[in-house]
Symmetry: C2
DNA sequence: TTGTAGGCGTTATCAT
DNA sequence: ATGATAACGCCTACAA
């Protein structure tokens, strides 16, 4: 492979000029640039990014740490990050952790190892370095999305899940429901807790008492929504609506209801959360809260770019909150028929 | 940040020994290794991957080029690649192309620029370099998945979509259907053509004549499946089954049928393709063909590792074909009722 | 506007 | 088993 020296020789200039022609063309005479570009085309030259990175001490990569990408919420998030990264000449390194904290910590150390310049997190656990900042070396640029407790001091982007959940419950209450069940996410995740507390807030506002007997816990998967729905149905014959902490579980719940022959929304109203496109084509189409997932990724990447530009502004930990909105489809309606036991 | 020189000094050895302790410990005396490891822990040393890469002429990254990751099929594929990459100390660089050939070609040139060692493709178009191999420099390691025509000479992994489609049609024919519609993918994609020809093969085997009037084209999206279903319904009152070229479109079709009040499977049988987990929880659950998407990614990454190990074996372009299998759920049944006009 | 040269942090070759 | 040292290819003062 040709290198910058070859180009310099062929173009009859010094390597410095070639380097400048590539990175700061304004400093080079147009005629010279032309000769250099000719040489580049001629020799099929491609700058060695490793060498440049070594010299400039950065890789132009950003790690995205997620438990798994095999899930529409996460992949939309990653897509958003990639969009902005690409537009800014950065690359996305995929860091799948499977929820393992050691793996996550290893990804963090890749930053010190210059494999990446920073990391965007969509994880339920924080890497150790956040709680134990390094004394000698400096803190790597980190951006958090969605999942984290309020006391950490990272730049972060999220939606107001608390209010969003309350909003859904409000919608059901307005329709006339007075007994509203919930299927939550795993309660070791901050996001799940937030959505659960929002559910309770919604009930409070509607002057409905919380009944723990009709709160079931899932793990955000279709199957867990299905299972949780069956558990609720068996536990209580009275409730007429159920709010699920994400669309996947809501779709699972829909499937369970269909199997039990309980009609939605006549006998049971069901709501989701996230607004996956699958929810728009379920039977019936799912009432849900739109979460701007792609935009969350984009905002996170922008925060990352900010951190990268101002390495010392660590304390300027900004928080971006993106708007949600209620999407009413056909899975919710006023309670009509009594459910048959 | 501490570097290898610092470690050498603190441990009282040369840089060469430190390097060896890290990469080939068997060549270093255990006692020495211990001193080195102590120094590493002490100084919080992390090897600079950029420097190592420059020296060794590789980045340990592999690019995955996909039109979009925001889709369960693709994300499963990427997850499979990441699994194997991680196990082999390689990283996945996400290359989203949005179907743009220039973007794709740029990703290819990143290999020459040492940002990555090779590329795995899940695209409907091939990068230029495949048709015009470079004369001076050597061909970058490329692995293709699923989408490509048979005449190219890349290592590749795929399923037998042709037979799989025929299998689905066979299933419907066995149930007694004689008028079977199809919703295909975009016909500029090889994968779509393959699935379409498999559909025709299935009809042939069942001695059913092909009727182009009940073949509609979609773009693999939910919405397009929904739209295509409505078009078919309006065009022909007779058919009793429809096979869709992927699960997303089948789910869209299900939604259209539900809206028209046509019951599945009593009045209409519907089949999908891919076996997304959403299909298992639709109403009714979707009969489909299981495609081992994650495994396809894993196999592709293994082919990549092979190519990387034997840079000259370009001609040894292996092809891996992974098995599919029919998943019969409740969206297919013997034709019963007549559809109402 | 252009050139010279030092150095980024490693690995690998060749000695010892 | 260990050490000295020359690359790897680029960027960026500094000099001209």
């Amino acid at each position: 492979m040709a290198n910058i020296k070859d180009i310099a020789r062929v173009a009859g200039v010094s390597v410095a000029t070639v380097s400048r022609a590539l990175s700061t063309p304004s400093l080079v005479r147009p005629a010279t640039i032309e000769r250099i570009e000719a040489a580049i085309a001629d020799l099929n030259y491609e700058p060695n990014h490793l060498a440049a990175g070594l010299r400039r001490q950065r890789s132009d990569n950003v790690i995205v740490a997620v438990p798994s990408i095999f899930n529409p919420f996460t992949s939309a998030f990653v897509e958003g990050i990639e969009n902005v990264a690409r537009a800014n000449k950065m690359r996305v390194l995929l860091g799948i952790t499977e929820g393992d904290i050691d793996t996550l910590n290893k990804y963090v150390s890749m930053i010190a190892g210059k494999q990446a310049d920073g990391m965007i997190l969509l994880e339920k656990t924080l890497p150790d370095i956040v709680r134990n900042p390094p004394t000698k070396s400096k803190m790597p640029p980190l951006v958090a999305a969605c999942e984290y407790p309020p006391d950490i001091t990272l730049p972060r982007v999220r939606t107001d899940d608390h209010e969003a959940s309350a909003l859904v419950v409000g919608h059901l209450a307005e329709l006339g429901h007075t007994r509203i069940a919930a299927i939550t996410g795993p309660l070791d995740q901050f996001m799940s807790k937030d959505r659960l507390s929002g559910y309770k807030l919604g009930l409070l506002r509607a002057r409905i008492e919380v009944d723990e007997a009709i709160i079931a816990t899932g793990d955000f998967s279709l199957q867990s929504g299905y299972d949780a729905m069956l558990r609720l149905l068996d536990a209580d014959p009275q409730f007429t609506a159920v709010t699920c902490a994400n669309d996947e579980m809501a779709l699972g719940a829909l499937s369970a209801l269909q199997q039990r022959g309980i009609s939605v929304p006549d006998e049971m109203s069901v709501t989701g959360f996230d607004d996956l496109r699958f929810g728009a084509f379920s039977s019936p189409p799912l009432t849900t809260v739109h979460i701007p997932t792609v935009e969350i990724g984009e905002a996170a990447m922008r925060l990352m770019l900010d951190s990268l530009l101002q390495p010392d502004q660590v304390s300027a930990s900004r928080e971006v909150i993106l708007p949600h909105r209620l999407i009413v489809r056909q899975s919710t309606a006023a309670p009509k028929k009594r459910r048959k036991a």
